[in-house]
Amino acid sequence: MKQAKQNSTKRLVTRLLFTVVGMFGFGFAMVPLYDVICDITGLNGKTGEQVVATQPNENAPLSDRQITVQFLSQNAAGMDWKFSANEAQVKVKPGEVKVVSYHAANPNSYAMIGQAIPSVAPNEAAQYLKKLECFCFQEQPLEAGETVDMGIRFFIDESIPEHITKLTLSYSLFDITKSSSSATKVTQR
């Protein structure tokens, strides 16, 4: 009787401990889960990875819809580079490939490394903005006083809903000089 009780307590405690370990793992599983949900819903205006396979169909007739894409830039706290979009806005037809660029200048007397993180508003539009090339895919080192023009090649997916006529692509520029040497690879966005 007493032995049976102890055994069932042991079994129960083991099960509960497994639950604890499982929930600890679930906490970490929320990280990729969150990224997937953000990709699907465009939550937080996260844009997708670099697209290679889904090149727009060059021969397809372009629709006569025009979508205004606006470009914003901002510096994260502690980042003092001059950072701005060379074009304030462009009009594109869905499916048409456009190239625009941003300008960055390091005014300091030492070399630094920057990293731009994009975000699209409205969130819903994020998944239709496809980037073929973007300076945000890699770190951007600048020597003291150096300036650079950094390009983006993108198109708007043809399946973009009718009601979206204007979207804003915004870049935040972070100073990652310190973390870049230790961080082996900056996650590509």
Partner: protein
């Protein structure tokens, strides 16, 4: 203290080693309760600093950074140091006696789960003496405030949270094992007192979410020291992710602090209304529903981060759904009192105040659940008023009610009823003067967590601070009443209260060091 010895039943060991090495559920329950009371006074002292600074506009007493440390430490210590250990202490003392068990299922782990707590809080409190100062990012420790911009003491905070989490998880495992495996013959699940039921469900909540909290602080630790970027936007992480992980823990956490309170009130009201609890089954199901719903409403804490409209609607309706089982509970308590022959001893006063004031806190919760309205209320004193109404006259009042209710069983003496009533009325008036004006402050737009404010908020802050000092000071009466009751007084009978039902009232007062070494007579176990 009983000095009766025989071959099989030992009394407590003597001296400090009794408390260090004890595996007795009653000793450990007392340790938890005293520890929680000490933390209540410490966290209360921090609250007094906050209210003193907010007594009038301008910066008088402390600098803004220290003010932020006070709000952070007040929240952390009250949640993890005062409210949670108090309920674990009550569970340790009462659950074995309520289900006719000789002790907890895992007594050695029970000792361990208590004794790591003082170390956790010593570590957390020691950050106040460090050069960088204590954590200053709020008890919700949102990244990147708690990572990129945190004081260096944040690492101590992280380890303290790990230890508290381990302690809570061990406590929860112990309670589940006790309730599921140690019930006396005849004590079926649906005959258990509601306090046992609510604690069983709470323990499952703890097991589900404390590991997630541990995961969140571990990710912070990695971001701060090991160069990862879970919450760091520059490295491809996302600060909003932190809020999702935190509130996935945080919302069940607020029910962890209130479900045992429901159990306490469901024990006290029938006793003093001299009627059986109305709707016992529905109480059990309502508790389980609230626990389930707590997992799918977390994002109502973060409506303003920018969510798709469908998400906001889902979390709004799911949150409002919680009002249904909660309403069932409030209805049942009122129906229990209806046409009962009520008397108003101190525990009953606290329990009735709980029902009224907790319901008010619930209503402001419903207001906050309305997404468009929440955009106005978010991060204002309205939120502060809301959660203090559910936590102070909610959770804390229920703990005080429980303390008065079971004190005669613990000490063998009746407490001083006059002082108890004085404590109640001062607390009741104090808590309302303290928190009610904060609703108005919040609706008028006063933000949370600021040491200084615009002039138009001066009057209500002044009133609120007066209430705060009154409430804070009157808690010393509780300390005095408890000490006086331990020292002596009118002898308590075994049943203590005329209308009290349940196994814990069948043993002598004070409860002998060992109870139910042989299971109780099944005839003593009544239907609920």
């Amino acid at each position: 203290m009983s000095a009766a010895h025989d071959d099989h039943h030992h009394g407590p060991a003597k001296g400090i080693s009794r408390w260090l090495f004890t595996t007795n559920h009653k000793d450990i329950g007392s340790l938890y309760l005293w520890f929680s009371f000490a933390m209540f006074l410490l966290g209360g002292t921090f609250a007094m600093v906050i209210r003193a600074e907010l007594f009038q506009p301008g910066l008088q007493l402390v600098d803004p950074n220290f003010f932020n440390q006070m709000t952070t430490m007040h929240g952390l210590i009250m949640v993890f140091g005062a409210v949670m250990p108090a309920f674990v202490g009550l569970a340790n003392w009462m659950i074995p006696m309520m289900i006719g068990a000789p002790d907890m299922a895992l007594p050695r782990m029970n000792n361990w789960s208590f004794w790591i707590l003082p170390f956790a809080f010593a570590m957390l409190s020691s950050t106040l003496l460090m050069e960088s100062g204590a954590p200053n990012f709020g008890w919700t420790f949102y990244a990147p405030l708690s990572t990129t911009y945190a004081p260096s003491s944040v690492t101590f905070f992280i380890f303290a949270v790990h230890i508290m989490g381990a302690s809570s998880i061990m406590g929860a495992i112990n309670i589940i094992a006790t309730v599921l495996n140690m019930r006396a013959p005849g004590m079926t699940l649906m005959k258990m007192p509601l306090f046992v039921w609510t604690w069983l469900i709470t323990a499952y909540l703890l097991i589900a979410v404390m590991p997630v909290l541990a995961g969140a602080v571990t990710m912070m630790l990695f971001d701060i020291h090991f160069g990862t970027s879970f919450f760091n936007a520059a490295g491809g992480g996302d600060p909003v992710l932190f809020q999702h992980v935190f509130w996935f823990f945080g919302h069940p956490e607020v029910y962890i602090m209130i479900l045992p309170a429901f159990g306490v009130v469901s024990a006290i009201i029938p006793t003093f209304a001299r009627k059986r609890l109305f709707g016992y089954d529905s109480m059990v199901y309502a508790t389980a529903s609230i626990a389930f719903l707590s997992f799918i409403v977390w994002a109502h804490h973060m409506f303003t981060v920018g969510m798709p409209i469908a998400g906001e609607l889902f979390f709004m309706y799911a949150t409002m759904l919680i009002a249904v089982p909660t309403g069932v509970k409030v209805f049942n308590w009122v129906a229990t009192m209806f046409r009962g022959s009520m008397t108003f001893e101190t525990p009953m006063l606290f329990a009735i105040a709980f029902v009224v004031l907790f319901t008010m806190g619930g209503f402001t919760g419903l207001m906050l659940a309305i997404t468009p309205a929440d955009f106005q209320y978010h991060d204002t004193y309205f939120v502060v008023a809301h959660f203090h109404y559910v936590l102070v006259p909610g959770a804390v009042f229920s703990i005080m009610a429980a303390a008065y209710y079971w004190l005669p069983k613990w000490t063998g003496y009746m407490y001083d009823e006059r002082l108890g009533k004085l404590h109640f009325w001062l607390s009741f008036i104090g808590v309302n003067v303290l928190f009610f004006p904060q609703h108005f402050l919040g609706l008028a737009g006063m933000p949370r967590r600021i040491p200084d404010y615009a002039l138009q908020f001066a009057d209500f802050n002044w009133i609120s601070s007066i209430g705060g000092f009154l409430f804070g000071a009157s808690q010393l009466i509780l300390l005095f009443v408890v000490i006086k009751c331990i020292k002596g007084g009118k002898k308590a009978t075994a049943q203590v209260w005329e209308g009290a039902q349940g196994l814990e009232w069948t043993v002598a007062s004070p409860a002998p060091y060992h109870t139910f070494a042989t299971p109780p007579d099944p005839k003593l176990i009544h239907d609920q």
